[in-house]
C-alpha cells in the first residue's frame, strides 16, 4: 500500500466525536428504552430484559466513547498537495480518496455548536458529484486550508 497522507486532524476532534456520539447514543438508547417498557407489564418476567439492555448500552458507550475515537483519529489522514486532495480514513473499511482540485467547485468551512465550543471547524470540498468533509481542524488551520483549496481550485490547470 502507498504511504499515508501526512496531516492528521486536531486531537480535540476526539472530544467532539465523543460528545456527538454520546448525544446520539443517548437519544437512540432512550427511544429503545421507551419501546421496551411494555415488557415490564408482562408478569413474571422481572427486570432482566432491562439489565441486558443496560449492559448493551454500557458496551456501546465504551466502544464508541473510549475504544473508537483514538483509532478513528489515528486512521483519519489528509494531505493537500499542489493539485489534489488526498484523504485516507476508515477503520474496518479503509477508504482512500484522491480529489483533483480542477474538479473542485467550492470549498467552505462549517462549524456546529460542538465544534465551535472547541474552537474547531470542518472544511468541505465539493465537486460536481460529491462533498468531502475534513472534520475537526483548528479554526485557523481550517480557514487557511479552505483558502488554499479555493485558490488551488481556481488556478488548477491540466495538460491533457
Amino acid at each position: 500500500m502507498k504511504e499515508m497522507p501526512a496531516n492528521q486532524l486536531d486531537p480535540r476532534v476526539k472530544a467532539v466525536w465523543r460528545i456527538n456520539d454520546a448525544i446520539w447514543i443517548t437519544i437512540i438508547g432512550l427511544c429503545v428504552g421507551v419501546a421496551l417498557t411494555p415488557i415490564a407489564m408482562i408478569p413474571d418476567v422481572g427486570m432482566w430484559p432491562f439489565a441486558v439492555f443496560g449492559i448493551c448500552m454500557l458496551v456501546i458507550y465504551i466502544v464508541w466513547l473510549v475504544v473508537l475515537p483514538p483509532i478513528r483519529y489515528a486512521r483519519w489522514r489528509y494531505e493537500v498537495s499542489t493539485d489534489y486532495l488526498d484523504i485516507a480514513k476508515g477503520i474496518v473499511w479503509r477508504k482512500r480518496y484522491t480529489i483533483p482540485f480542477i474538479r473542485v467547485q467550492n470549498t467552505d468551512t462549517r462549524q456546529g455548536p460542538i465544534l465551535r465550543a472547541f474552537k474547531l471547524a470542518s472544511v468541505t470540498v465539493a465537486t460536481a458529484a460529491k462533498e468531502h468533509e475534513i472534520p475537526g481542524l483548528d479554526f485557523e488551520v481550517a480557514e487557511q486550508l479552505r483558502d488554499r483549496a479555493a485558490e488551488l481550485a481556481r488556478i488548477a490547470r491540466e495538460d491533457v
Partner: protein, 614 residues
C-alpha cells in the same frame, strides 16, 4: 474581421413572448378529467354504496337531475380551471435578452428563471399524446452546473417555436462566445438550400447560418436526406404518426448544423428491443412469482376448497402475468418507436416515441460516461444497450416529470445493438472517443477474486439464503414446539395435514433458495472470469461481467474523485475496490469494480492526480 455580418435572430431581443394559447384549454381539460377519473376510482366504494342505496329505495333521486348536476359541476370546474390557466397564461412569458434567456411565471408570486446563454447545455422537448395532437410540446433547457442545476421548463410551445427556440439558444450561445451578442439582427426563419456558399466568406454551409461568420442562408429547397438511416415498421407510419406535427405544429425548422451521423432502429431491432427489454419481463415475473408462491402455499394446505381455488387461479395467474408483460412491451414499443439518434455539430440528439414524443440532446463535452449494458436475455443473444451518462437536472420544475427511466439510464443512444457493432455506433456518434480503451485492452482480475466472488455472492450478499435461513429457524422452533407437545392438535388427521404443510413449505423454500444460489454462483464465476479494468491516457474502462454485464467507459476529465476502499479480507489478499465518482444522474454515479490488486488501486489513484508539466 471588422466587416463581420451579424447573427440573425428569429426572436426579437428583449421582447416578451407568450406560450401557445392551447395552454389555456388543453391543460384544464386534461387536469379535470384526471381529477374526475381519480375521484371515480378512489371513491368506488362510495359509489357502490350509493348505487345500492338508490336501488334499495333508501334514497329517492331523479337520475336526470344527477346527470345534469354532474355535467354542470364538470363545466363549472373546467370553467374555473380555464380561468385559472388563462390568468397563469397571461402571466407567463419568455424573453431572449442580450445575454440570457428568462422565463416569467406566477399569478400572485412572480417567478423569473433565467439561464445565461453561455450556460445552456441542452434544449430538449417532449410532448405527451394530447400535446402531440395539437402540435405543442414542453421545452426543457438544461444549464451547466453541478448536481444542483435546475432546468427551465417552458410549457406549451408550438413545435415550430420549440425548434426555433433551440436553434436560437445555441446560436445566441455561439454569438455570446464570439462576443457578438450586440450585433444580433432580427430576421425571419428561412429554409437553407442543401448546400450553399456563404457570399461573405466563401465557406460551404448546410446550416441556416454560416458557421464561419453567421450570415443567414439564402431561401431555398429542403435539406438533403441525412446519411445512414435504418427504418422500422413504425417509421412506415411516419407520414401519419411520426411526422405528425399536430394542429398548431407549424413548419419544420431546419437544424443549424449538418448531421454527420444518424441511425434508427430496423424492424427486427425494434421488435427484439421490445421482447428483450428487461423492465416488462421483470415486472411480469415479479407479479407472476408472487401469485405462484401464494398459490403454492394455498396448495400445501391439503384441503379440497384450497385445491379448487388453486386450480382455477393458475390460468388466471398466467393470464395476468402475460397481460402485464404484453402491456409493458407495448409501452416499450411505443417509447422506442420511430427512434432516431444523430450527431449534429457538437451535439448528440435522440428522438423517440410513437405517441408521446421526446427529443433530447447532449453536448459531446457533457457526456459523463458511455455505458454498455447487457441484461440476462440480451447477453444470451449477444446484444446490448448503449447509453450516455449525463447530468440530470433535479430542479423543482421537473418534479412532475416521472420519467425515472431516463434518470437512471442516461441518454439511451441505441436500445438494442449487436455487441460487435457497438464500436461502430460510438465512433459514428462520438468520434472524439476514438482513443478509448477497448475490451481487449482489459486486465483481468486476480485469481483470489474468484473465491471471494463466490463467497460474496452465494453467501454474504445472498438475500435468498438469509431469508431461507430465517425461515428454517422459524420452522425449527415450530417443530420443536409441536414435538414437545406445547401445541395440541385436535386430531391425528389435522396433525398429518400440518406436517405435510410444513414439509412442503420447507422443500419449496429450500428449492427456491437453491435455484437463486446456483444463479448467483454462475454469475460469480462469469464475473470473476470476464470482468476487467483498463485505463489509458484519457479514459477508464470498468467491465463488470456476470449474468448481466455492464461496461462503463469514463473520460478521465469527468471523474470527480477517485476512490479505493478495502475491508480486512481484501487487505489480507492485498486487494481493493476501485471506484470512480462522476456527476452523472441527478446526484452522482459511482462506477466500481471489486477486488483489483492493491498496486493497481494505487496506480489508479496516481492516474487520477492531475498531470501538470510544471
Amino acid at each position: 474581421m471588422e466587416q463581420q455580418k451579424p447573427y440573425v435572430a428569429t426572436f426579437e431581443t428583449g421582447r416578451h413572448y407568450q406560450v401557445h394559447k392551447s395552454y389555456i384549454w388543453v391543460g384544464p381539460i386534461v387536469a379535470v378529467f384526471a381529477m374526475a377519473f381519480l375521484t371515480l376510482v378512489n371513491g368506488i366504494q362510495g359509489w357502490i354504496e350509493l348505487a345500492k342505496a338508490i336501488q334499495a329505495g333508501d334514497i329517492h333521486v331523479n337520475p336526470l337531475l344527477v346527470i345534469g348536476l354532474i355535467v354542470l359541476g364538470l363545466i363549472v370546474l373546467i370553467g374555473l380551471f380555464i380561468g385559472l390557466y388563462a390568468l397563469a397564461w397571461r402571466n407567463m412569458s419568455y424573453v431572449f435578452d442580450e445575454r440570457e434567456f428568462s422565463f416569467y411565471s406566477g399569478i400572485i408570486t412572480k417567478r423569473r428563471v433565467h439561464v445565461p446563454y453561455a450556460r445552456v447545455q441542452s434544449v430538449n422537448h417532449r410532448a405527451s399524446l394530447i400535446q402531440r395532437l395539437f402540435g405543442v410540446c414542453t421545452v426543457t433547457i438544461d444549464s451547466a452546473g453541478g448536481s444542483a442545476n435546475k432546468g427551465v421548463r417552458v410549457p406549451y410551445l408550438q413545435l415550430e417555436t420549440a425548434e426555433r427556440m433551440r436553434v436560437e439558444l445555441f446560436m445566441r450561445k455561439a454569438a455570446v462566445a464570439a462576443g457578438m451578442e450586440t450585433s444580433l439582427q432580427f430576421g425571419s426563419a428561412q429554409r437553407p438550400s442543401t448546400q450553399w456558399t456563404c457570399p461573405h466568406c466563401g465557406t460551404q454551409n448546410t446550416a441556416r447560418f454560416c458557421v464561419e461568420c453567421g450570415v443567414a442562408a439564402p431561401v431555398a429547397a429542403p435539406q438533403a436526406a441525412a446519411p445512414q438511416k435504418a427504418h422500422n415498421m413504425l417509421d412506415g407510419a411516419a407520414g401519419i404518426v411520426g411526422d405528425w406535427r399536430g394542429i398548431y405544429g407549424g413548419e419544420a425548422v431546419f437544424g443549424e448544423e449538418p448531421v454527420t451521423y444518424e441511425h434508427g432502429l430496423t424492424n427486427h431491432e425494434l421488435l427484439l428491443t421490445t421482447i428483450s427489454h428487461d423492465t416488462p419481463i421483470a415486472v411480469a415475473l415479479t407479479v407472476g412469482l408472487t401469485f405462484v408462491i401464494m398459490m403454492a402455499f394455498v396448495l400445501l394446505v391439503q384441503d379440497e376448497v384450497a385445491r379448487t381455488i388453486a386450480l382455477f387461479a393458475f390460468p388466471i395467474i398466467v393470464g395476468i402475468t402475460l397481460a402485464t408483460w404484453v402491456f409493458g412491451m407495448v409501452g416499450v414499443l411505443l417509447s422506442y418507436g420511430n427512434f432516431r439518434t444523430r450527431r449534429r455539430g457538437s451535439r448528440i440528439e435522440v428522438e423517440r416515441g410513437l405517441l408521446a414524443r421526446e427529443s433530447s440532446g447532449i453536448d459531446i463535452e457533457r457526456v459523463q460516461s458511455v455505458e454498455i449494458r447487457q441484461s440476462f436475455i440480451r447477453r444470451l443473444i449477444g446484444y446490448c444497450e448503449v447509453s450516455l451518462g449525463r447530468i440530470d437536472a433535479a430542479g423543482e420544475q421537473n418534479k412532475g416529470n416521472n420519467n425515472s427511466k431516463a434518470n437512471t439510464k442516461g441518454l439511451v443512444v441505441h436500445p438494442f445493438v449487436k455487441v460487435d457493432r457497438v464500436d461502430e455506433i460510438i465512433d459514428g456518434l462520438a468520434p472524439e472517443l476514438a482513443d478509448r480503451p477497448r475490451r481487449t485492452d482489459g486486465t483481468p482480475l486476480p485469481k483470489q477474486a474468484f473465491r471471494r466472488a463466490l463467497l460474496r455472492r452465494c453467501l454474504w450478499y445472498n438475500w435468498a439464503l438469509w431469508i431461507a435461513v430465517f425461515l428454517l429457524v422459524c420452522w425449527g422452533i415450530l417443530a420443536a414446539m409441536t414435538n414437545s407437545g406445547v401445541v395440541h392438535f385436535a386430531s391425528a388427521a389435522s396433525r398429518a395435514q400440518y406436517d405435510a404443510f410444513m414439509t412442503g413449505s420447507l422443500i419449496l423454500v429450500v428449492a427456491i433458495c437453491a435455484v437463486i444460489t446456483v444463479g448467483k454462483g454462475v454469475g460469480a464465476v462469469l464475473w470473476a472470469r470476464h470482468s476487467h479494468y483498463a485505463w489509458n491516457r484519457n479514459y477508464l474502462l470498468l467491465h463488470n461481467d456476470g449474468l448481466s454485464t455492464a461496461d462503463s467507459i469514463i473520460p478521465r476529465k469527468k471523474i470527480q474523485a477517485g476512490t479505493t476502499r478495502s475491508n480486512p479480507f481484501q487487505r489480507r489478499l492485498s486487494l481493493v475496490t476501485l471506484q470512480a465518482v462522476t456527476a452523472a444522474g441527478t446526484r452522482s454515479t459511482v462506477a466500481k469494480l471489486v477486488d483489483v490488486p492493491a498496486e493497481a488501486g494505487a496506480a489508479y489513484l496516481d492516474w487520477i492526480k492531475p498531470r501538470t508539466s510544471s
